[in-house]
Structures are given as C-alpha cells and as structure tokens.
Point group: none
Chain length 152, copies 2
DNA sequence: TTGACGCCCATGATTTCCCATGATATCTAA
DNA sequence: TTAGATATCATGGGAAATCATGGGCGTCAA
C-alpha cells in the first residue's frame, strides 16, 4: 500500500500535537520518506500533505529554470509556506500555528486520503466541502458516469 | 534530496550575527555541504542562498554552454559577489555589509525556503513581495491547477 | 588601540523525547 | 467458538534536549 486512503478524525492536544493515522505513517514509510510535508491548499481552507518525493518533483522539473518567474512564484509560495514534519515515537506531529489558522483548525482534525497526497481539514469545514462536492457530482452525473467508464 | 522549506524570522544582534534556522542547517548538513553560499538576487532586493553543490551544478551544468554569454553572466553576477559563510557553534553567521545593504536588512531577517535554495529578506519587503507573487499566481490559477493535476 | 572576528558560556522559551494509560484490535490456546 | 493474553493505537504529561539570543574574552590586523 503506497496510497493515502480513508478519512481519520484525531484530536489535537494542548501542545498542538496530533497523531498521524497509523495507516498514513505506513504509507509514508513505504515511500522511504522521512516524515511529511504540509502546505496550505491554494483552492480551499485546508492543508495539503505529501511525501518528500512529491515535492522533489517540483524542484527537479525546474532545476535551472531559475529565471522563469511564473513557475518560480508557485514554487516560492509552496516551499516558503511548507513545513516538514516528523513524528515522535508515538506517531504524532505538531501542526504549526500558521497552518492551523489557514484551515481554522482548533481541537479536531480530519486526515483525508487522496491517493498520492492527503489533506487535513477542520471536520465541519470538511463536511460542508463534501456536501458541495456531492451536489456538484450529482449535477454532473452524466459526465461522471462517462468518465468512469473511460477509465475502466 | 534535502529541501529548504518554511519561513523563519530571526534577529540580528549587535555584532551582526543571525541564527541560521536549525532546519536549514540540517538541510545543509544533509547535502554534505560546509556552510552556505549567499549572493544578491538578480531579480529582487533579497539574498539568494544555497549549498555548495548547487553552485557546482551551475558551473558544471550542460544546459549552458561554457563559453556562452549566459554562463559568463552567471559567473560574473553570482560568483564574484558570493560569500561563503560558516556558522559558529551556536549556528549563527555574520551577514556581510554589501549583502545587508542590497536587501535593506537592518535588525530582522526572514529566511525563506525555496526548495533547493533559500532567500534572505528584510521582513517588510518580503511581505510586499509575497502579496504580489500570490496575486500573480492566482491570476495564473488555471495553469496551477493543471500543474497540480499532472503531479497527482 | 580599536574594531572585527572566532570561540566559549549563560539563559529562557520552546520543542522533543520518554514513559504511562485506556481503548480497541489481533492473536492464541483450550 | 470463546476467553484470556498480547499488540497496536490514540492520547496525556513530565523530564530532558534544543534553539535563538545575549554577552564575555582573547587574537589578529589595520
């Protein structure tokens, strides 16, 4: 298993620590990655998370493209606001303050598997987001059905 | 590959010393690099910083012809104005005067992770720069979305 | 002799490490 | 199959280490 799947709800303690779901830790370890990288999502009040190799794709694809401002803007925004988190012997990480504020996270978080990456949400915000996604999906039902067929 | 991530604000003391963020020192050490190299950014009033191996890649890079004017420009602009800094036992470096002046740095600096490299900014200038970069990125949102999809 | 620099020690705040606990899940043996 | 044993997990809290910062002292060169 090298994919992030399922959704887990964990509690943040007074020190700001939260357990990374055991299955996510397994996924990360299998990728030979040391800890996780997280950064604010561009498109939602949520946190995007991934392994080191995922971020390395960004830099290796633009190694000497040093002067191109467009890609540079994106990389700068991601890397400057990213955090590298490693867990303690109990599998917990500390979510930095800026990160928590971006996602309005206070005492509970949802870890949401998204395949190669995952997200961290404030539980109620996730619920609302999921409802909206469901409604959009229902409205676009014909397209989705077609799309799913294509992938089989 | 070790990456420079996050943004750290540190203070410059009376002697001109400033702590290199511990996580940056770890990144440098993992690259087996001795200290850091810094040089004025071409594109902004900021300082670019990197490890030794990154500079070596610039000179040995096959993407630029050794005799080309571009290569010569890089040599002139980067190497002539670069400084090699090593930290003391507490992890501090002294920023040379020319460097500080280029970035209008006085008493506080921001270390900004950019992946394989990092930058050093005067905090207010960084804030302004980040705002602009964010607006540019939002205008290019379709491209960003595409990019994210490609990597997933 | 004065200032720049390297080296050393001190300190408060933060972060990490380590041990403990209860709940749940998994294994094992009759 | 079931009951007891064992392992794993999420969570709590105190001790120890780390970090950023301040400052002293000797060396060296202008």
């Amino acid at each position: 298993m090298a994919l992030f799947v399922s959704t887990f709800f964990n509690k943040i303690d007074i020190k700001g620590r939260v357990s990374v779901p055991a299955s996510f830790r397994t996924t990360v370890t299998m990728q030979m990655s040391q800890g996780i990288f997280i950064y604010p999502s561009f498109t939602a009040n949520a946190i995007d998370g991934c392994c080191g190799d995922f971020l390395e794709q960004l830099v290796t694809s633009t190694t000497l493209d040093f002067f191109s401002s467009e890609q540079d803007d994106i990389n700068t925004l991601i890397f400057s606001s990213a955090h590298h988190l490693t867990w303690d012997s109990e599998g917990r990480v500390v979510l930095p303050k800026e990160i928590r504020e971006h996602a309005n996270i206070t005492e509970q978080v949802a870890f949401v598997g998204k395949g190669r990456t995952f997200q961290i949400w404030e539980p109620i915000a996730l619920k609302i987001h999921t409802e909206k996604a469901r409604n959009r999906a229902l409205q676009n039902r014909p397209k989705i059905t077609l799309h799913a067929t294509e992938n089989k």
